[in-house]
């Protein structure tokens, strides 16, 4: 029983980190109606940025985020401006291919700079843990969970308590109508893409601190993130949060009660089973007509 509770705790803590990465993805989808396949590669890029700061500047991982998050924000805005905005027709499908190409380039650049050897981030809290009610909790999991909590709350405040947030939600609900009432949807899109990518910097740091990674880690990540946002209902932030917690808990519990080999398969099978009953995901809305 104890190992199951421990697995649930780990699942919730790592689920928080995945919620961070998935919320960026679902936000971008909600506003722009595109899937950013590069999100996985950007998470890995974020992890490598933290790695560089830690290795060469000996900066603390969490302090380093003050540098990497704005950097990744700018990169996101640049990607949106250079590639996504240029797509005039068939945006939905072409954007998947464009962002995949971006992911390939990022993977190639990282492979060129850092080779494909696995690396890991280092800090005092990564291998240390403390005891709470009989369970050993690694500091990094707790810190990463707190970081996710802080960032997701600020995202919530940004979305629901600011003018920008209102225009962002308006663009999410109806792009054309938002344009008609004077919202600069292109600007909102660029900023949203930037925010979504900036979140990957934090997610990447937490990911790199908890597992070793190489440039190819992005495939595993993006497939999980896609499953999470579809499961939660695409474009629904609440859905992404709940789905990441549920999925990671189920995965960790499967790993201890059955076998770690099958835990990621369960992840995908659950998605397929759920969609048999709710094609729109947990919190999504049924898609209306295209026009």
């Amino acid at each position: 029983m104890n190992i199951i509770i421990a697995a649930i705790i780990t699942g919730v803590l790592t689920g928080g980190v995945y919620a961070l990465m998935a919320s960026g993805l679902t936000l971008i989808f909600g506003v722009m109606d595109i899937i950013n396949i590069a999100q996985g590669a950007l998470v890995v890029l974020g992890a490598y940025l933290s790695y560089v700061l830690e290795q060469y500047l000996h900066m603390d991982l969490f302090v380093g985020l003050l540098l990497t998050m704005p950097l990744m924000f700018l990169l996101g805005v640049a990607i949106e401006w250079a590639f996504i905005r240029k797509l005039k027709r068939d945006r939905t499908m072409l954007s998947i291919l464009v962002t995949f190409a971006v992911a390939l380039i990022i993977e190639g650049v990282l492979g060129q700079l850092f080779t494909t050897n696995y690396v890991q981030l280092h800090a005092w809290y990564i291998n240390a843990s403390f005891q709470l009610a009989g369970f050993y909790l690694p500091y990094i999991y707790v810190f990463a969970f707190i970081l996710s909590g802080v960032l997701l709350s600020s995202l919530y405040l940004l979305l629901y308590r600011t003018k920008f947030g209102r225009s962002l939600r308006a663009s999410m609900q109806n792009r054309t109508a938002a344009e008609l009432i004077g919202i600069d949807v292109e600007k909102v899109s660029a900023l949203t893409f930037g925010i979504g990518v900036a979140l990957t910097a934090a997610g990447g740091m937490a990911f790199g601190a908890t597992t070793s990674f190489n440039p190819g880690s992005s495939y595993d990540l993006i497939s999980r993130l896609l499953v999470i946002i579809v499961l939660g209902g695409m474009g629904s932030l609440r859905g992404a949060l709940i789905a990441s917690l549920v999925m990671l808990v189920i995965e960790d519990v499967t790993a201890v009660v059955w076998s770690p080999v099958w835990s990621s398969t369960v992840f995908f099978v659950l998605l397929v089973v759920l969609l048999l009953f709710r094609p729109q995901g947990l919190f999504g809305q049924l898609e209306g007509r295209k026009q």
Partner: protein, 350 residues
């Protein structure tokens, strides 16, 4: 005009038949075999994704299924290397197609983005199974296919595979042509234009989509089986390769999504380029960087694909030439394909 077209096609066919005689270098014929494999898989993929507009990014699942099906069949039946494994290629394709029936039915409950993600998820399920079902697939150690007879030198071997894949490509093309010109294909195009309206007009969208999905899985599965036999052994990351998914889609986009010759043209351009890049820069990141850049160029500068762009140019050139005595009837492209499908459905009833 028609005569010229037929002659051109015949010349192309003759050239593709004579290709191994003209270029007998095994390095070149190997690339030709891979190119034809992608052309066949891409044409199959296009029958579903190109005609219905549903972009499936998980067809590597059926590619891998075909590959493993052939490996398992040959292992269980103790089939010696030679020509006999080729007879089992259609069986491997049928196995891939049969598994596409339930998987397609599940995936096609959703549309657009969700559909894309489901196909990707199904692909990952199969990749994980190939790694984890050690008792069947031998895990990451991979499986080997029957050894080719020792008297097949590399020249002869490549020629055999070349002609087999050529036959597969021609089969896929014929079927794609037939679908494009049938009432069934018109229904698929109607789904691409406006699915709800097509349904309202009496197109059985559910079964139409599923049948196209299964056909495409059949061809992709056969391509996978030949690929496995050509390589001689098969491992999970090669059989279930995420790059295959996007490579096929990219080829179709480059040539022209939903056109008959688009995927072939795309494969002819991209596969040799990819092989060259892999050969030149395979071991380091430059391969991925250059491939990604190529990818971006294609989508940003040729979003419609080569075939539609050229045929538009051709049409406007012809229009410009025949403006003076415009006795030709105006092109009746004003009726959308869904309307045409409705008309045909009416005629079918009468």
């Amino acid at each position: 005009m028609k005569k010229a077209k037929a002659l051109g096609l015949l010349a192309l066919l003759a050239f593709s038949l004579a290709f191994p005689l003209l270029f007998s270098n095994p390095a070149i014929t190997t690339i030709a075999v891979f190119t034809l494999l992608f052309a066949a898989a891409g044409t199959g993929w296009n029958i579903f994704s190109g005609y219905t507009g549903y972009i499936a990014l998980g067809h590597a699942a059926y590619f891998g299924l075909g590959a493993y099906a052939l490996a398992l069949l040959c292992q269980d039946e103790h089939i010696p290397g030679g020509y006999i494994p080729f007879l089992f290629v259609p069986v491997a394709g049928l196995i891939a197609a049969a598994s596409a029936v339930p998987l397609g039915a599940i995936a096609l409950r959703t549309r657009r983005h969700t559909f894309v993600v489901i196909t990707i998820a199904i692909f990952f399920i199969f990749q994980l199974m190939a790694y984890n079902l050690r008792a069947i697939t031998n895990g990451s150690a991979g499986m080997s296919l029957p050894l080719l007879p020792p008297d097949w030198n590399e020249y002869f071997l490549n020629d055999v595979f070349y002609y087999v894949t050529l036959v597969l490509t021609l089969l896929a093309l014929t079927l794609s042509w037939w679908v494009r010109n049938s009432k069934y294909g018109l229904g698929l195009l109607a789904i691409r234009d406006d699915e709800d309206r097509a349904l309202g007009l009496g197109v059985k969208t559910g079964s139409y989509k599923l049948v196209a999905f299964v056909i495409s899985a059949f061809f992709v599965g056969m391509a996978g089986a030949i690929y496995a036999y050509f390589l001689g052994s098969i491992y999970p990351p090669f059989a279930f390769d995420a790059l295959f998914d996007v490579a096929v889609a990219l080829m179709a986009f480059l040539g022209g999504l939903g056109t008959l010759s688009g995927p072939i043209l795309g494969a002819l351009i991209l596969e040799p380029a990819q092989q060259y890049l892999a050969l030149q820069y395979g071991e380091n990141g430059w391969y991925l960087i250059l491939y990604g850049l190529l990818f971006l160029m294609v989508i940003l500068f040729l979003p419609e694909g080569i075939v539609p762009t050229l045929s538009k140019k051709w049409a406007s050139w012809k229009a410009a030439r025949s403006t003076a005595p415009s006795r030709e009837p105006p092109p009746d492209d004003t009726t959308t394909s869904s309307q045409k499908a409705a008309l045909l459905a009416e005629q079918g009833k009468g």
